[in-house]
Symmetry: C2
Subunit: 784 residues, 2 copies
């Protein structure tokens, strides 16, 4: 019998068709419940839910978010995704005792998320007061019907007759850590069975319509019901006598609509309420199992487009990449382009649902290569926010599009909070500078647009949105430059680069290089648009004042200072980094928790040490790799990696890929393992605030772009696989210019199948090839 | 060893000086925690706190309220007392394990509130993982310093060295059942030790300033500290190694100020913040014990003015009356007349801190007779709300002062919520009619003013406030009347009387009789003011348009229909009650939970049955008893009591007193016992939403006005004791016209000591007496 003291995460339990598809825990510990709430969270891009247990425990975080429903609870707070009413909580009283795993004992405990089907399940036997009960809970958020959530519960008293009461419904008493975004709305019960509760965001004025319905399916058990309304709650109470070994079985089918839903914009609130109830009645008639099957079918289509097969000595690698893709799909807004992906997806309150550069640099490659229609949505979102970016530029004395560091609803502009945690020295809250001076986000957006365009060839996107972003971000950087009279060059002073352990630096290498790259691209696409799309050019010319801006940009372009390699080929991260003092970092490199350096130093002090959260220069070498040769890459990697604490979940994946690039495959594999353990690993406290979305995108990039070797280099598809020793083969799909390719990399061969209509040009280990239908390329072992 | 399965309430454990002063529980059960949170709640009239355990449990309701700080969280809700940040919660980790009584085992558990000192204490031994620890927690809300809360904690590892961590501070993530009233304000830590957090109500714009400070007093234990800020939280973390049998001991001294505080109105927010921190520094220097002593001294003064000694066969009776007085004092705003007392005092979210007729009819007699200065504050509050009452009259097409059924901040007017629980038939929320048609509140206010005046002779109050209330309430009723052409008399139709199981009735006996009594009083005091206070008369004459209004009132007064006794001497409760169908009520009379009749009938159906929540006519016989003879009282009591379910906590006390009046002393005593068990009794779920303030006032009235026999009858002090068989004597103090009297009633004598300056006229068993200094009156046993 397992007890609460066993290790609880177990990485795969699947047999046959579900082998390497299952994330599970084999016991329950209250203090670790945040872990499974997050790593087993459910979602479909429209809505996301933490996978809390049905019964309640202290410290539980019941979260339900609907993408894009941002609200500012009050003037002192920044806008965030509001935590909608909960339908996962169910109180179960057995013989008058509220069921909880903290009472009595339990055995045969298993909670599992099936990544292939999107179904969460939990089974165990609970013994209390010398009587035992078998429990089975199942739940899913439908991938076929964005509004639907299904749950199914079975309770079997073993060898004893039991009185069972169920209290279940819709609970709107939840908050975002104390901030309440909702005004209480109307509560109704239709036909004594269909519960409806409305709640309305207090600033953005979005009405959420929650409906739920319970159906009992047990033979031999007569169930009596009544209902109850409380403050922000509407509940059903069920009561029955369950004979020994009979099973009380019921399903709870719920849905959730909001007045922000694009598909229902034309409806009045009353019409949407009616529609939602009709929807629930119709759907719930199908029953849990059929609704689940519909969802699974939908998941299957996505898996066909993205599943990766890894033959590794470590089976966990296969699970890790599926885990990453499951969550990337669960958080991605497939249905709407009016919002992005939050840094924690839809799985936690961390970062408030805001979009960062995480989307463009870490998540987008996955979508661009596997689900270009979703990538396009995410980039369209950045286009929708361009007015906010222009406003931000203007407020700061610049022109063009200066993207907000944190972004929420399109109209919001910059939404980065201004104040953070307490300074250990002064006792005052510290100022968060990112919203003011972490400016490389503008380059990141431009980069992602360009990358998407190169990979997909989506000219329609470029005409509608892409060219304008490329031009206007270039214009921003041109106006952002600061003339240094002495050196007769343009500088970019007082910024935060990707390495957030260096605030207020001048000429951050990443920022300067990517800024000039933006200007370069603007010049290039200016000429292309002018030539290829004269109608569009006319529009943009007026809108962006192109004649003036491009002349100025062109004049400045050549005079932008780009930090250059020194005699050791090391590019200085910024004007002062290489001259800062060095300390022994081994204590902080081999840490159990990130950020341990702040136990010894405050941020002002960290600013004065050669230590990086993640290395700006290494990130630069990855993004603009075609601009740097192998010797420079290697020198910089070897300089900066030892100084990097990887205290950002964004750091590991980039460093893993670059390690592969410089042929340090053992390190690359180690960093991959570390990256894949950020959420899925045995540290039970890392995921409490939500999943690390960027890290998941990074895991995909390590496998496909790192080990798998796929890159888009200045418009060219390049394949240069580097398999670490314990990985025998990787099979992965990508799209290139609309052609689906299936690439299989083994230790001695590369096999590419082109399922598309057109031949695809590719460079493999420096050789140019055309893939018509299939190409097999024999490699020498030593290369890999 | 006691375990969680023992019975947990224990009524008195005091020895010597604390005999019959202690309310205790001897074990802990999570599901019953609401009980002790409330019955052991702390307060000083300025602030009130539920007595939650330091450690957290599911279902715990951490409430801290400051009188008068009403806020409307959003447009859909009514104004209520906001739940301020919590300082009672403390997380204690022992060897890494979060302490909770739900883990391991505990013994020697005792939690006790000392009613005399106002100190809450809790002690037990906790055993976990084969190691034991002794815990001692103490807490008080200062009666000497309205802003101060003290806590003291001792933890002793028994025979084992332990690593102990304490996480404690200010937590603003609490809500009112999901409604968040506060915007997050600034958080600061001064001198690395004094925590400050501001929060601001989002509508009424009141800033709450919370400060807290921890001091560790343990020898031999080195304590390391650091601090932490989180969303709406500021915390200290302490960490230490405690050797076996050493005691970790610390105090947490906190204070709370708001920008609504009258005493600090002249200060800017910054000045108030500075003052509050200075106050905390100064007070915390005194240490827990001295601060507690200062509070106890203050309590002692109050106890001297009010303590009642009961010699009963049942010692619980003595405790019950002290319990009532403790809570009445803890909830009473001694310091301010800008607000009233909520129906749950300051001990729960129930009824949202709103004042009902509970104050005037049930609570005020206690204050009027024992602490007239507090009674005056409460009546001044009604004067402050008179503009709202006039507005309500106007909106309803009347004139004069139509008091709101529920009242909050003076400007708010009517604050009764409009929608209540779900109708069991339609599934829609039911409409709450009280705010519209439960109109007797206006008579209740006038009655309390008059009663206060008669008992205290406070002419200053009458000139400033009282006369105007008496006149304007009379005017309201005069304009409220409806002329019945057929009967040629004035009716009052479509009301709810004190019996809320009859909605939309015509000519409710209580409403009609007290309305005409108001008109009678208005006429009488109109003439008195005109003669005695010509200056005031001039002012009021203009303000209230007295010439016109009093002429109309006088003309109408004689034509008000007053329901009269029928051939059986029964006064019909309203036009239809006596003709409604009768059913067997025994099932609902002997119920465990109130309101059980609604399991079988909805309110529409209950409206059609001769069944009462509380009897309107019995209430009338108590208030205006000098208008009805004994035969009528008896007939009505005997008719209505069997039809009354006492489903209101207001019902029992009135019926107990009337039972004594008609010499049914066994029933009177039974009803007293029932009343005193509403909060203090063994039903562990009755107090979850807060203490039953009106019932506590009723308990005092049963003892003093019922068994003790004191009444003010149309201006005369009357004494007519009726001791039930098991009560041997009652000794109680009252004030009459400013003279403190001490009255001792035994089975064969009445002894009255007049400590005042003037002789007091009194009628004892119908005989008129003057009390100079002392009067002893021998009674015949049979009379009692």
């Amino acid at each position: 019998m397992r007890t609460q003291d066993d290790t609880i995460m177990s990485y795969d339990q699947g047999e046959n068709e579900f082998k390497n598809w299952i994330v599970a825990e084999s016991s329950f510990k209250r203090k670790y419940q945040g872990k499974c709430e997050v790593v087993m969270s459910l979602g479909n891009g429209y809505l996301g839910m933490r996978s809390c247990t049905e019964e309640s425990y202290l410290g539980q975080v019941r979260n339900t978010f609907v993408s894009g429903t941002f609200n500012k609870a009050n003037a002192n707070e920044v806008t965030e995704l509001p935590n909608a009413a909960d339908i996962t909580g169910i109180d179960i009283f057995i013989n008058g005792e509220l069921f909880s795993l903290e009472k009595g004992t339990f055995s045969d405990y298993n909670r599992a998320l099936n990544l292939k089907t999107g179904e969460l399940s939990r089974t165990f036997i609970w013994t209390f007061d010398s009587k035992s009960y078998r429990f089975e809970f199942k739940r899913f958020v439908s991938f076929a019907d964005l509004h639907l959530i299904g749950a199914h519960i079975k309770i079997t008293p073993l060898d004893n007759d039991s009185n069972i009461e169920i209290k279940s419904g819709i609970n709107g008493q939840v908050t975002n850590s104390g901030a309440q975004h909702f005004e209480e709305g109307e509560k109704r019960i239709f036909d004594k069975a269909y519960l409806q509760m409305l709640q309305n965001t207090n600033e953005s004025n979005i009405t959420f319509i929650h409906n739920t319905y319970h159906e009992f399916n047990s033979k031999d058990v007569e169930v009596k019901s009544r209902f109850e309304m409380d403050r922000r709650k509407v509940l059903m109470l069920y009561h029955c006598e369950v004979p020994a070994n009979a099973t009380l079985e019921f399903s709870k089918i719920s849905n959730l609509y909001t007045t922000r839903d694009k598909a229902y914009e034309h409806l009045s609130l009353q019409e949407l309420r009616d529609l939602s109830i009709e929807h629930l009645k119709k759907q719930s008639e199908k029953g849990y199992q059929l609704l689940l099957q519909e969802s699974i079918l939908n998941w299957e289509e996505y898996w066909e487009n993205m599943d990766i097969k890894i033959d590794s000595d470590n089976a966990y690698d296969q699970l890790a990449i599926r885990f990453a893709m499951y969550h990337l799909l669960a958080m991605a807004p497939k249905h709407d382009s009016r919002y992005g992906i939050g840094a924690k997806g839809l799985s936690g309150e961390g970062y408030k649902g805001h979009s960062f550069w995480d989307t463009e640099i870490f998540l987008l490659p996955f979508f661009t290569y596997t689900h270009p229609e979703i990538a396009r949505h995410l980039l369209e979102y950045r286009y929708h926010t361009i007015e906010g970016a222009r406003k931000k530029a203007k407020e700061n004395g610049y022109r063009g599009a200066m993207y907000p560091w944190e972004s929420a609803w399109a109209d919001d502009g910059e939404v980065t909070p201004v104040w953070g945690a307490a300074d250990i020295v002064t006792g005052k809250a510290t100022k968060i500078w990112s919203g003011f001076i972490e400016q490389h986000i503008t380059s990141d957006v431009a980069f992602a647009v360009w990358q998407y365009y190169q990979v997909t060839n989506d000219e329609d996107f470029m005409i509608q949105y892409g060219y304008e972003i490329l031009l206007d971000t270039g214009i921003f950087w041109s106006t952002r430059l600061e003339w240094d009279e002495k050196k007769q060059e343009y500088h970019i002073n007082n910024v935060v680069g990707p390495d957030e352990y260096k605030e207020h630096v001048n000429n951050d290498a990443f920022t300067n290089h990517t800024a000039r790259w933006c200007m370069e691209n603007a010049l290039k696409y200016h000429d292309i648009v002018k030539e290829k799309h004269p109608g569009l050019y006319e529009v943009l010319s007026t809108r962006l004042n192109l004649e003036f801006e491009m002349a100025e940009l062109k004049e400045r372009y050549d005079k932008v200072y780009l930090p250059q390699p020194n005699e050791d080929l090391v590019i200085p991260q910024d004007d002062t980094y290489l001259s800062l003092k060095e300390i022994d970092l081994s204590k902080y490199k081999n840490q159990e928790h990130v950020g341990s350096i702040f136990k010894d130093f405050n941020l002002d002090q960290v600013n004065q040490i050669q230590v990086s959260k993640q290395a700006s220069v290494v990130m630069l070498m990855y993004l603009l790799e075609y601009k740097f040769n192998d010797a420079i890459k290697k020198a910089n990697y070897q300089y900066y990696e030892p100084r990097t604490l990887h205290d950002s979940s964004l750091s590991l994946s980039t460093h893993a890929i670059l390690a592969a690039d410089i042929d340090n495959l053992p390190l690359a594999y180690d960093l991959f393992e570390s990256a894949s353990r950020i959420d899925l690993g045995p540290n039970m406290k890392t995921s409490d605030h939500g999943i690390h979305a960027a890290s998941l995108g990074g895991i995909w990039q390590i496998i496909v772009c790192g080990f798998g070797g796929i890159r888009m280099l200045d418009g060219t598809l390049r394949l240069n696989p580097k398999l670490p020793a314990n990985i025998k083969s990787i099979e992965y799909p990508i799209h290139w210019h609309g052609n689906p390719l299936k690439i299989t990399v083994t230790t001695d061969a590369i096999d590419i199948i082109n399922k598309g209509d057109k031949p695809v040009a590719i460079e493999i280990y420096g050789e140019k090839h055309q893939i018509e239908n299939q190409l097999t390329f024999k490699t020498v072992n030593s290369v890999l």
